[in-house]
């Protein structure tokens, strides 16, 4: 995994960790990424898929993938 992909994975995990208390943490994480990430970052995290993502971040990526 490239450094910058690692950065995105860390960012996604961190978002999920901080939204853990939301009623639907995965959806909240997906929404946050949708609102604040540039398309190439979104594309990159979608491509990274499972590697290193925590549960909710992974679910969030799946939600984004379906959109």
């Amino acid at each position: 995994m490239s450094d910058t992909t690692e950065t995105l994975v860390r960012m996604a995990n961190q978002i999920a960790d901080n939204l853990m208390q939301e009623s639907d943490p995965a959806a909240a994480t997906a929404q946050h990424i949708k609102l604040y990430w540039d398309p190439r970052m979104k594309a990159k995290i979608l491509a990274a898929q499972a590697d290193g993502l925590n549960d909710f971040a992974l679910k969030a990526v799946k939600i984004l993938n379906m959109q």
Binding site: M20, L35, D38
Partner: protein
């Protein structure tokens, strides 16, 4: 405007709403109850002679020059200390008064050198004026004077103290006490023998506690304390009102000029942010504007290994435009982006983001606010509905409990700190949450009721624990919450904070704060009356910066402390125009006025006005731009007034990103560190050379006015406009007021703002619209901007940056009074007298373990890199914590900081880095290599030739 000193009413205004009517010299005047007779007379246009009184200070009654006669009263009371009363009849000029005054004046003059003609204050001296006013024509007493012939103290770089001219009025001493709150001066001796002194007998001004705010110089009626510039240049002949370009307090000044030469900056009494006060930076540290290192000609080069080539403006624009177009065609338009500056005006910032959105065709625009207050925007928008502080500065006068978290206002926001300290001396309670013992924790006549020296990185845990106490001990203001907030959201939050895992006792091992102390602080905040929270970068620059801002908002709502004077949530903004840069749509996901770029209606407004189609997707933030550059998808950057290489974290990563770009355009005053990687340099203009507006931390929009011609030939907005035109955009602004008209047309919260209205009102606090045509000093008065205030659960998530055996200490960073941010300006002024280098503060225990003493070189290592700097051993920091500033490029403190950042905004986690320190004998390899690179990269062809 021709030169006139600011009118002095003699004593401060009274805030009373009750008016009294009295008769002065046969004319009726109506003034607020509590006004002095002197002030009442001045309001009516009669200036009673005076020496010891000035309207920035409480009356003192020592000189006896201001005597008046009052019908029905015996004697001749001093008008500065006698309150105006209903029905009073006062005479200010009678033969008896004239005689008394002459006598007093004679005594003063007998102890004063009569060298008026050659005195620097000639024409601007109250003693001289008053001698004239009382009709003094001769002096009967001998010249066995007590003050004459004493030595001058010229140690302060900006002002001199000449005791031989002193009339012992003690205005300076009182200014230092009352206005500045530093209490550096004392009056030694009695009567005519008295003499002012800066602290100990051995102290001169420079070595004393004096912070060089200049309040005493302004208060001094004679030439005793006088700006060196007035001595050198002469007294001013005209003045222009403008706004300080340093910090977010936004002090307004009279730039007092001779021709195009700036003589001095004098804080403007009418200024609503500063009320006639200032700090050393704004008042004195503007010499950088004329510094020899300032670049005044555009320069280009094909590669950063080449020396710079000076070119005409036209060639620079054409080259920049051709490079940007080439890159856009080759790599796609999303390979371009830009950075706006919190140092530049609203109008300039607006233009840069417009150039990127409308010209580059993407949303890759960000601002240096990314690295300071982006979490404020996120946190307050989500909880309250708007990305700004809730109060004006004056509100602090009504606060009963002041909570300062992660802010060091005496250094970073000095003029507001003086205000706050005045309120604290008058009895307000103080809670400080900070890993360091900042000056506020203990200073003359001020002592924090509670100092919670938390472990860096645990803000959320501390605030949640405070909320736990407030909710579980029944201290929440449920009436407020039911009326103003969503009760279900509150209940959910209350349940979360009440959980035992959030109790201060449970969290004590994490926060390192004694549970009792935390409980006491929480009780005080919830039940001590009006509670106001002030915070700074110690809140935002963390991996949970946004959560901390939301936790602060929760605390304010839970205790009913929003929507009136004396309360609120107040981010202390770093740079002068951080608020403005954020308001102007500098973030990649937001248009001006904080409307998300995906909002079709908002976009349509801009698309219509600009005749373009905007990309609905958010763009890259600064750290993402650098990552994308390393990945090869981001190739060109236009940076206005910002030095990301020095100010952004993990310097090596920033330099790798910049080095990977094909076109870096730096638009700045100096060849800054970022310019080492630049291909095009566009010289910038200073705030003295342009028109526009800044918006301070209170949302106050104030005018910046051009006082001299830009030495680079163009104001910054003109440079951006020419660049846009070279790229084919048909911009045609002839004045920044037209840019403001466009901002107001496109931004609902600025709907009522225009240069004309600002000229009329002096300043306006947004929102300015139909509902609030004169602006909004306090926000959320009748309800939150978002409707119901939103409680958001903020769970403490420890940072990934952990101490361990290799890096056992936590480094936190901050700033110092005399310098500003990366120091590009202040390092080029005499302010270096106070802070020639960055120091590393180390607790004595940690120093002893490593055999270090003050002044030693220490190596500072983190997993990102290493640097060296000198040690200062002090118990201001807790054991296990080290602290430094980042004002000097040679220190490269950011070589050590990491890429970790706030979860919501990517604001870097400057305040927490795990480090190790050890003895060292000098600069690190990186520092030496970097020094060599800088030297190589700063070469300018014409200078090399001239030297050969």
């Amino acid at each position: 405007m021709t030169y006139e000193p600011q009118k002095d009413f003699g004593t401060p205004p009274s805030n009373s709403e009750k008016m009294v009517i009295l008769t002065i010299d046969g004319r009726e005047v109506s003034v607020p109850e509590g006004s002095s007779i002197m002030r009442a007379a001045a309001e009516q246009g009669t200036d009673i002679p005076k020496l010891c009184a000035t309207d920035s200070l409480e009356s003192f009654g020592s000189c006896r020059l201001c005597l008046v006669e009052i019908d029905g009263r015996r004697g001749t009371p001093a008008s500065c200390t006698t309150p105006a009363e209903e029905g009073m009849t006062v005479k200010t000029q009678t033969p008896m008064l004239q005689k008394l005054r002459k006598g007093v004046m004679e005594l003063y003059i007998s102890d004063h050198p009569l060298d008026c003609l050659t005195c620097a204050a000639n024409g601007d001296c109250e003693l001289q004026d008053q001698a004239g006013a009382v009709g003094l024509r001769n002096v009967r007493y001998g010249a066995d004077a007590t003050h004459m012939g004493q030595e001058k103290d010229t140690s302060n770089p900006y002002f001199d103290y000449d005791p031989s001219k002193c009339i012992a009025c003690s205005r300076c001493v009182r200014a230092c006490d009352e206005v500045q709150g530093t209490l550096a001066l004392t009056m030694e001796g009695r009567g005519f023998d008295s003499k002012i002194s800066a602290g100990l007998a051995s102290d001169d001004f420079l070595s004393s506690e004096c912070v060089s705010c200049g309040a005493c110089v302004q208060a001094c009626p004679t030439e005793t304390l006088i700006e060196k510039n007035v001595v050198e240049i002469g007294t001013p002949e005209r003045s222009v009102i403008t706004t300080c370009a340093y910090c977010g307090v936004g002090c307004t000044f009279r730039a007092e000029m001779r021709g195009e030469q700036l003589v001095r900056m004098v804080p403007w009494k009418e200024g609503k942010a500063n009320h006639g006060h200032s700090c050393v930076k704004g008042r004195f540290a503007w010499g950088y504007a004329q510094h020899q290192e300032r670049i005044t000609k555009p320069m280009i080069r094909a590669s950063i290994d080449e020396p710079w080539k000076e070119v005409e403006w036209g060639e620079a624009f054409a080259y920049a435009a051709s490079e940007l177009k080439r890159i856009s065609e080759k790599y796609g338009k999303n390979a371009l982006g830009g950075i706006t500056s919190s140092r530049c005006t609203n109008e300039e910032t607006f233009l840069v983001q417009k150039l990127i959105r409308a010209g580059f065709g993407n949303n890759n625009v960000d601002t240096c606010a990314r690295v300071c207050h982006s979490p404020t925007g996120f946190g307050l928008k989500n909880t309250f509905g708007t990305s700004a502080g809730t109060q004006d500065f004056d509100s602090v006068d009504d606060s009963d409990v002041i909570l300062v978290i992660g802010a060091n206002p005496t250094d970073a926001h000095p003029v507001f700190a003086s205000r706050m300290k005045r309120r604290l001396r008058a009895g307000a309670k103080l809670i400080v949450i900070d890993p360091r013992k900042t000056d506020l924790v203990r200073s003359p006549h001020i002592e924090a009721d509670h100092h919670l020296p938390l472990r860096p990185g645990t803000n959320v845990a501390v605030l949640t624990a405070m909320a736990h106490v407030i909710v579980t001990e029944g201290l929440a203001d449920e009436d407020f919450i039911r009326e103003r907030c969503d009760w279900d959201e509150y209940s959910h939050w209350a349940e979360f904070v009440s959980d035992k895992r959030n109790a201060p006792e449970t969290l004590e091992p994490v926060t390192m704060i004694a549970a009792d102390e935390l409980r006491a602080a929480a009780r005080l905040f919830a039940s001590g009356g009006n509670g106001a929270i002030y915070y700074g970068l110690g809140v935002t620059e963390h991996s949970q910066g946004s959560s901390t801002v939301m936790a602060i908002a929760n605390l304010a709502m839970a205790t009913g402390n929003v929507g009136r004077r004396g309360v609120g949530v107040n981010p202390l903004r770093g740079q002068n125009n951080v608020q403005g840069a954020c308001d102007m749509g500098s973030f990649p996901h937001e248009l001006s006025g904080y409307r998300h770029i995906s909002d079709g209606d908002a976009r349509a407004l801009f698309e219509d006005d600009w005749a373009v189609t905007l990309d609905p997707e958010p763009g890259l933030r600064i750290p993402n731009m650098l990552d994308a550059a390393v990945d090869g998808t981001f190739k060109a950057l236009y940076v206005q007034g910002e030095d990301i290489l020095q100010s952004d974290p993990n310097t090596k990563h920033v330099s790798a990103g910049l080095a990977a770009m094909e076109c870096v355009i730096v638009h700045d005053l100096f060849l800054n560190e970022t310019a080492n990687y630049a291909h095009i340099f566009l010289p910038g203009s200073t705030f003295l050379e342009k028109d526009g507006t800044f918006t301070n931390a209170e949302r106050r929009i104030q005018m910046v006015r051009k006082v001299m011609t830009p030495i680079n030939g163009m104001e910054d907005w003109q440079v951006t406009q020419q660049l846009a035109r070279a790229m084919g955009l048909d911009w045609d602004y002839s004045h920044p007021s037209e840019i403001m008209d466009e901002i107001s047309r496109l931004t609902p919260s600025f709907a009522g703002v225009s240069f004309d209205k600002l000229d009329e009102e002096g300043s306006l606090q947004w929102p300015v619209n139909d509902a609030a045509p004169d602006g909004s000093p306090i926000m959320h008065v009748d309800g939150f901007v978002r409707g119901k205030g939103k409680f958001i659960v903020t769970d403490y998530v420890p940072t990934d940056e952990k101490t361990g055996p290799r890096f056992p200490l936590l480094l936190t960073t901050g700033r110092i009074l005399s310098h500003y941010n990366v120091g590009a300006q202040t390092r080029r002024t005499e302010n270096v007298a106070w802070h020639p280098e960055d120091l590393l503060e180390i607790h004595p225990a940690d120093a002893e373990d490593r055999g270090l003493k003050s002044g030693d070189w220490v190596k500072l290592n983190s997993r990102s890199g290493e640097t060296t700097l000198r040690a200062e051993i002090t118990d201001r920091v807790a054991p296990g914590v080290v602290y430094t500033t980042f004002h000097h490029p040679a220190t490269q403190a950011n070589v050590v900081t990491t890429e970790f950042s706030d979860w919501a905004t990517n604001c870097p986690e400057y305040k927490v880095t795990a480090v190790q320190i050890s003895a060292s004998n000098g600069p690190s390899d990186w520092q030496e290599e970097y020094e060599a690179l800088s030297e190589q990269s700063r070469r300018i062809a014409s200078e090399i030739e001239a030297a050969e």
